[in-house]
């Protein structure tokens, strides 16, 4: 992991005469006084840093607020501020980073800590029927603590004006998708505003972590968002291994990357089909579904699981590949990439699908940059971000991918990037398998010392996943925070669909394909 940015941030904060203390890691963490918390964000914003995440933790009855920043090739920097005993508020970062809004609402929901200066403190994951004084991530709240329901309602942003009306959708949707609620304000068939209401898939994942050791918690991480199970497991394992001060064998790192790239291919292929299907082009959907199934079947055969769940574990991976397996994987990867190349040509020639996707749901580069949109969504609006290259975790430090970006920020651009990334992944898989190092693929995981912490990012097919972990006594996790890329990209969707006709919403929603589960945890 690349933490070069820490030094840059330290010198900027010195110039601004902000007193700080650096806790040497790995990874290093800058400790600032609570009064300086927003100031740090202000300087970070001026320097063009991206806010990766903001979260809280509790230790000995007092709370700490954490943040992670990033800046391209300089990698990442962590900052934290300890709140005094009995202090239950902190300065909000929203004036500098609007993307912090929901993260701080979650801190407010789960810890009962108030972000001062936050413009919107409606509850977010904690729905209206939950008791107000229940703060599930506080240490005195039990995992199976009872929740006494009461009546409540959520004040949506209303609409007024002649001819405008509202369409509520969900949490049970018309298709086979995850639960969430969308409130559209509409004129004619044009969307004026979309307000998302999420949290329906909240399963208490972060609380679950805290009763487990790393090996058992990895199963939870793998289920943060099932479609990105490899990437989530990998981010969790990297953070835990960093805390333990151990890296996995080169062979294990290669195998993890192969799994992650295959997961990327499968999901991109699935998305391309599904996006085209939402524009009524069933041909593409059927071809893509077929190819995706081919991938799943080989995964089952070689790794014992169609979606590659629970293969990445602390200490390595659970399955090795023999020569026959390597050959099969290489062959199929190239064959599928070849077919996707063919389908790309067909897609480009098909004027009726192009007509639907070009110009639909555009996001400006400026907006994408302000929010720090991730993955396909960011790269389709010219944001040159990719954690594989920027965080330089093994094995990508040896073979950084060619990052493709494009203009437009619309559905068409998001499709184009997916087509390109399938090819890039296929090339990476080929390279990783040809150069597969000899050696072991799994070592027993040594529990890290009490108080050690780790922070890791992994570029999932959806974008950067960030995981922060700290261990308590006996190898048990004291706190583990996960930030799925959807936490940020959901905000992008709200922006993208303004002025989009309502019937094109599914098309746009699919082109973002944010995870509900990954967001709600």
């Amino acid at each position: 992991m690349n933490f070069t940015l820490t030094q840059t941030l330290v010198s900027r904060l010195h110039e601004a005469a902000i007193p700080l203390e650096t806790r040497e890691g790995p990874p290093p963490c800058l400790q600032v006084a609570e009064g300086q918390w927003a100031k740090v964000a202000q300087i970070a914003r001026q320097e063009g840093l991206r806010l990766v995440a903001e979260w809280a933790s509790e230790e000995n009855g007092a709370f700490t607020i954490h943040a992670a920043y990033a800046l391209g090739a300089q990698g990442y920097a962590l900052a934290a501020t300890q709140l005094g005993q009995g202090v239950e508020e902190f300065p909000s970062l929203v004036p500098h980073y609007s993307v912090a809004a929901r993260m701080e609402r979650i801190i407010h929901d789960f810890y009962g800590l108030k972000p001062l200066g936050h413009p919107d403190l409606r509850s977010w994951i904690k729905h209206d029927s939950w008791p107000e004084e229940a703060f599930p991530l506080r240490k005195d709240f039990a995992l199976n603590g009872p929740l006494h329901r009461h009546e409540g309602s959520y004040p949506f942003i209303g609409t007024e004006g002649e001819g405008s009306y509202e369409i509520p959708v969900g949490p049970v949707h018309a298709g086979i998708i995850e639960p969430g609620h969308f409130r559209f304000q509409v004129v004619g068939e044009q969307i004026l505003n979309l307000e998302e209401r999420l949290g329906y898939a909240h399963k208490g994942i972060e609380k679950h972590f805290e009763s487990r050791d790393a090996v058992s918690a990895a199963r939870m991480a793998a289920r943060s968002s099932g479609d990105a199970t490899v990437a989530h497991s990998w981010a969790f394992c990297l953070a835990a291994e960093q805390a333990a001060g151990r890296a996995v064998s080169p062979r294990a790192a290669h195998l993890r990357a192969v799994l992650c790239e295959r997961e990327r291919m499968a999901n991109h292929i699935g998305d391309i089909g599904a996006i085209c299907n939402d524009a009524a082009w069933v041909f593409m959907q059927m071809q893509c579904q077929r190819l995706r199934e081919d991938l799943a079947r080989l995964h089952h055969r070689l790794f014992g699981h169609r979606l590659l769940m629970d293969l990445v574990v602390p200490g390595g991976v659970t399955r090795d590949l023999d020569l026959d397996g390597i050959a099969r994987l290489r062959d199929q990867t190239q064959a599928v990439a070849g077919e996707m190349g063919e389908l790309f040509k067909i897609y480009e020639e098909n004027t009726s699908i192009r007509e639907r996707v070009i110009g639909s749901g555009g996001i400006s580069t400026q907006d994408a940059h302000t929010l720090g949109l991730l993955g396909v969504v960011g790269r389709s609006a010219e944001l040159d971000l990719d954690a594989r290259r920027d965080a330089a975790y093994s094995p990508y430090d040896q073979c950084p991918p060619q990052v493709k970006v494009c203009r437009g920020g619309d559905v068409s651009a998001r499709l184009w990037i997916r087509f390109q990334e399938i090819q890039t992944s296929a090339q990476l898989i080929e390279k990783l398998l040809v150069d597969l190092p000899e050696g072991g693929f799994q070592e027993p995981f040594q529990a890290p010392a009490e108080g050690s912490w780790g922070f890791a990012v992994v570029e999932s097919w959806r974008g950067e996943i960030a995981t922060w972990i700290r261990f308590g006594p006996g190898g048990r996790i004291q706190r583990c925070y996960v930030r799925d890329p959807s936490m940020i990209n959901w905000l992008g969707l709200e922006l993208a669909v303004r002025e989009v006709p309502v019937p094109d919403f599914p098309l746009n929603n699919k082109s973002f394909n944010c995870s509900y589960s990954g967001h709600d945890l």
Binding site: A201, G204, M286
Partner: protein
Amino acid sequence: MQRILRKIIKVGTVTEPLGRSEQTIEVLGSELDRVIRKRFQKSLAIRQVDAGSCNACELEIHAMNNPYYDLERFGVHFVASPRHADLLLVTGPVSRNMEVALKMTYDAVPNPKMVIAAGDCAVCGGEFGCTYATVGAVSQVIPVDVLIHGCPPTPTDLIRGILMAVGLPE
């Protein structure tokens, strides 16, 4: 257009006979229920409800519709509203935030109706169990007729479970 046709011809029909299930499928309920269920044979409308799954179960439910499995050949199709459905296919450990929505969806399905709990989470809470955030098994919230184990169940398991629900051996 030519390219599309060429591709369709080259790929041909990939649909396969249904394979064997890998996971346990349990059919609950009485003999009388089974008689009623048989009425749904060859034309079964399903409404899927995600009650807080990790979304991997949904991926496999989608896969039932891919050209290899082609669920519709068995007369089974997904509908957009519970009011059009004969059967609810429920996944996830029933998050507290979905409990009410799940009950309301069940109530909206006309009688007679069936419920399948698909995936370990829906069967028994799975990895998530019963906590402040999740109820656990779907059967804690609404009556369940068929349990399909697996994390996630494969498309074959899912199809077998659905067919067993209406009393078809395959």
